[in-house]
Symmetry: C2
Subunit: 430 residues, 2 copies
Amino acid sequence: MMRTRPLKVALLGCGVVGTEVARIMTTHADDLAARIGAPLELAGIAVRRPGKVREGIDPGLVTTDATALVKRGDIDVVVEVIGGIEPARTLIATAFEHGASVVSANKALLAEDGATLNEAAERHGRDLYFEAAVAGAIPLVRPLRESLAGDHVQRVLGIVNGTTNFILDRMDTSGAGYSEALDEATALGYAEADPTADVEGFDAAAKASILAGIAFHTRVRLDDVHREGITEVTSADLASAKRMGCTVKLLAICERAADGKSVTARVHPAMIPLSHPLASVREAYNAVFVEAEAAGQLMFYGPGAGGAPTASAVLGDLVAVCRNRLAGARGPGESVYARLPVSPMGDVVTRYHISLDVADKPGVLAQVATVFAEHGVSIDTVRQKGKDGEASLVVVTHRAFDAALSGTVEALRGLDTVRGVASIMRVEGE
Amino acid sequence: MMRTRPLKVALLGCGVVGTEVARIMTTHADDLAARIGAPLELAGIAVRRPGKVREGIDPGLVTTDATALVKRGDIDVVVEVIGGIEPARTLIATAFEHGASVVSANKALLAEDGATLNEAAERHGRDLYFEAAVAGAIPLVRPLRESLAGDHVQRVLGIVNGTTNFILDRMDTSGAGYSEALDEATALGYAEADPTADVEGFDAAAKASILAGIAFHTRVRLDDVHREGITEVTSADLASAKRMGCTVKLLAICERAADGKSVTARVHPAMIPLSHPLASVREAYNAVFVEAEAAGQLMFYGPGAGGAPTASAVLGDLVAVCRNRLAGARGPGESVYARLPVSPMGDVVTRYHISLDVADKPGVLAQVATVFAEHGVSIDTVRQKGKDGEASLVVVTHRAFDAALSGTVEALRGLDTVRGVASIMRVEGE
């Protein structure tokens, strides 16, 4: 059964993930060959800094000319672990033109321009696999695309960014403020020097756009994903969540509307009950709930990032793509036949937890309640606390359109008895 | 892209799962066609009792002659949801001989004779898919076989039987005894009239043999799986577990030995710490941990049984098998190249929790401790409680070979100061 001519792999990028991919390709060469049906040959490694010492990497394979490597014409699979938009995008396009299939871990690129890349793969009859782009080693792309291919996904809800989960977990357990928790995350290597992509929710939004696209067989662009980060989450928010029997998580939520005719995708911090399984996802772990019509609720949990976990996902894809190549077949490609419209955030149905600083005088609650009623938002609970002429009101609403909820908040800001809106947070997972 | 000639599906069995498969094939026909690239046609449904009213099932498709159906020669995929060994085995073999691929949910048959069926699929160049045979809708076969194809699985540990989890959960939360909890499970439809397959661990052992085979690329026969059921678990065991900060779960555990050169597979009740994610798997849910060298710890959670969840897994496989058929390719088949020996239970390294009824006199503890030492078993903790000339000793050991641990228990039974061994349970998940 074993073919002796090896399949040639070009590795683009040799950072934390790339080094691990190269290492496993060497140490587990026999296993990989047995599982694929042919040996793998690492044909070249494109890097930016050729002088850097990379343990276990054959310096003879290293090149700075990535373009020449993907253009060689004898490459079976290009593994792209550079990240970022360019030169990754052009290199992947070139790889397809020269007959290679591609395995990528590049969530930013796939969210930004997945349509173009998927079309190129289709046109050239090649595979584009990207399990590693979403939630590291946790199998999500394959289960959504293949295991649930006969089902109807209603919702994907999860923690898909480890950095922000680490920060919120620290704020929850130690009572630390946001900056203090961010500093700790940076010191421990969980946050990058510039943490913007993580803490502003860009990374999670990219993953939400990829997951929504697969789950709903519809193209969901990055711009379609409503995005709020965690930089404005305060220790007061976490304390308030605790009083409600909740904690705060940065969630990526992709939902089909109740009538099934449109979808939404969003990333924002939200309160979830402590009894919800996502509440106990600690540190930098990721976990994703998938709700499907027939399957019910499934959960996938594991390390969402890191060199070895990401390499595991890359290598799983590499084995699949190589098997397809030997069989002269393609795996399941992009599926966007449903073409559902993506609705804006205002159409999402959710609940708000709102803290208001108000004047401590009679009639304030009535005034506030009237504003909610005028916007068609029904109140679940109100907690009122007064001290020295000032008071605070904490209102938790019933489910309503996000547009009605944000309209309510705008109107509340306009009341002269409302001194300020201390915090607004959505409540999910109930 | 869409082919108009339909792919023909023969459904064997029309019970809870079969009815749901037929229903979804009708209600979601357009989605399935779009995802496959060709429409599906339900060509026939083989049943035992043709007179039974089946809502939503076209009586014109129903036949009692399953053999004639799979022999028709124009069937693309046979979906087998009859269960049991015969006639399912012969029908599947006949299906392959007549050119069909097969999707099966039959764990008993796959555990008993998977080798023969997989070889038949291979010989005829057809697919045999069986995601639904393990843990219902939870994607496990595909993640192990494909997502982790580039990794090295060390251990699979999980709750794979909903009936026994329901019973143990009830015993834990309500303090009920085993028979009382079983009665409740039967009344609620979680246990069958004859619960033997579930409560004696046969069902879980079948799943363990399937999972171990895929995880370790090695054939693991049902006889290779050490099996203990839950019929001897008492409310005292659960109370004792609680005192240790644990609960009791029926676990399926497939492990690679520390030197990587052999594997073990076993099913037995075990104490696990309440902090372990499996401890919070309630009612009839299933959850499986997979530990792999690069990926780390992954967990998969969801409904492990039921008509709709099982149908979801069957239909995911059906879509994949149909796509393969259109591409003229096969999916990944059985992989047993590693051929690792399967070691007996005695070679497993684990910990014991042992309750002894002993004479309440000086020197008993010293005598008991000597027996442990003579067998090379190190003691972690001992709790001693005396009353009216009788006393109890609860010993928790450190990790040791199961053979040494069971040898210790045998020797303890021989001591005249030991009146009885009240319970023995393994401790896992630490």
